[in-house]
């Protein structure tokens, strides 16, 4: 069956295009392809600004760290500690610390006073939350 005998068909005279349309169509497509092939300037700028911002932040952060005296002291202290441990001076330091504590204890009249009675000591300990049974057990051990 030949349809063309009874169907008018798609007539290009009925369906037209503007003058020079196909030449312009090629240009439009090629332009869009070129845009697709190269990243937009805007995103390049955005990336560039991100890199600059990160670099600037790092630079400022490093500058602050470098110029702050506290950070320098900490750094020196940590180096000094490691040197002390390595040279065996730590024991001397601990002994000095112990002497300082003993000196402090001697300054406390309550702990140093040998004239305190058992009742006074016992009352003090109870006030500090120590139970009577614990005090009794402690005395029993002597």
């Amino acid at each position: 069956m030949d349809n063309k005998k009874y169907i008018p068909g798609f007539d290009k005279e009925s369906f037209q295009v503007p003058d020079g349309y196909f030449e312009q169509l090629s240009k439009n497509i090629e332009q869009k392809i070129a845009e697709e092939s190269t990243p937009p300037i805007r995103s390049v700028n955005k990336q560039l600004w991100s890199v600059i911002s990160i670099a600037a932040t790092l630079f400022i952060g490093f500058g602050i760290w470098w110029l702050t005296p506290a950070s320098t002291t900490t750094s020196s202290a940590s180096i000094a500690t490691s040197e002390i441990i390595e040279s065996g001076e730590l024991d001397d330091l601990l002994l000095q610390q112990e002497d300082a504590i003993l000196a402090l204890v001697e300054e406390q009249p309550l702990l140093h006073n040998e004239d305190l009675s058992f009742e006074e000591i016992s009352d003090y300990l109870i006030q500090e939350g120590v139970s009577e049974s614990d005090i009794y057990n402690y005395l029993e051990s002597y």
Partner: protein, 184 residues
């Protein structure tokens, strides 16, 4: 459709993934008119056909690495063009959905309003008859009748068996005859 030397060379560039923007200009040059008229027959108005045709070539550029040479380049391009034109119609139908006219009257109205359409009553009647066909039958009819493609080629474009295409074409013929007889 006979394969030209130009098409052979383009197919070779696609399969070897050597399609640069410069070579792609040749693709546009060779296929632009065929793609435009294929799309125009589906979407009908020049404005829509222009938009869709440009989108089709952008899509071909983006998917160029997916052409594996299992089909001919023109059937691969026609397949993209057909799918995008139908997709465009579906989007427009959803946008301007009218349950009473089912979109046919709207599209005929748009066609009449198109500056680049000057068809007579017979042409309008024929286009209206085509629009009443189910989408698949319409596509088979258009590719067979207007493009004069072989069933094997249409089979690759629409991803449908040759037997089913022959049946669709027969049904489309019968419906068109009946429709045109009824409106005469």
């Amino acid at each position: 459709m006979i394969k030209s030397q130009e098409e052979k060379e383009l197919e070779s560039l696609f399969t070897q993934q050597k399609v640069t923007p410069e070579y792609f200009s040749l693709v546009v040059h060779v296929y632009k008119e065929r793609v435009y008229w294929l799309v125009r027959k589906i979407v009908l108005t020049h404005e829509d056909a222009n938009d869709v045709t440009q989108e089709v070539f952008i899509r071909i550029w983006e998917k160029k690495h997916q052409f594996n040479g299992n089909s001919r380049l023109f059937t691969w391009i026609y397949r993209i063009a057909t799918n995008m034109a139908l997709e465009h119609l579906r989007k427009n139908k959803n946008k301007n959905h009218s349950s009473l006219s089912d979109g046919v009257e709207d599209r005929i109205f748009q066609l009449q309003a198109d500056t680049y359409f000057s068809g007579d009553d017979a042409e309008l009647k024929f286009q209206k008859a085509l629009l009443t066909l189910p989408e698949k039958q319409r596509m088979v009819f258009q590719l067979k009748y207007f493009e004069e493609l072989k069933y094997e080629e249409i089979s690759q474009i629409l991803d449908t068996s040759v037997g089913a295409l022959k049946a669709s074409y027969h049904h489309a013929n019968e419906k068109l005859k009946a429709f045109l007889k009824a409106v005469d």
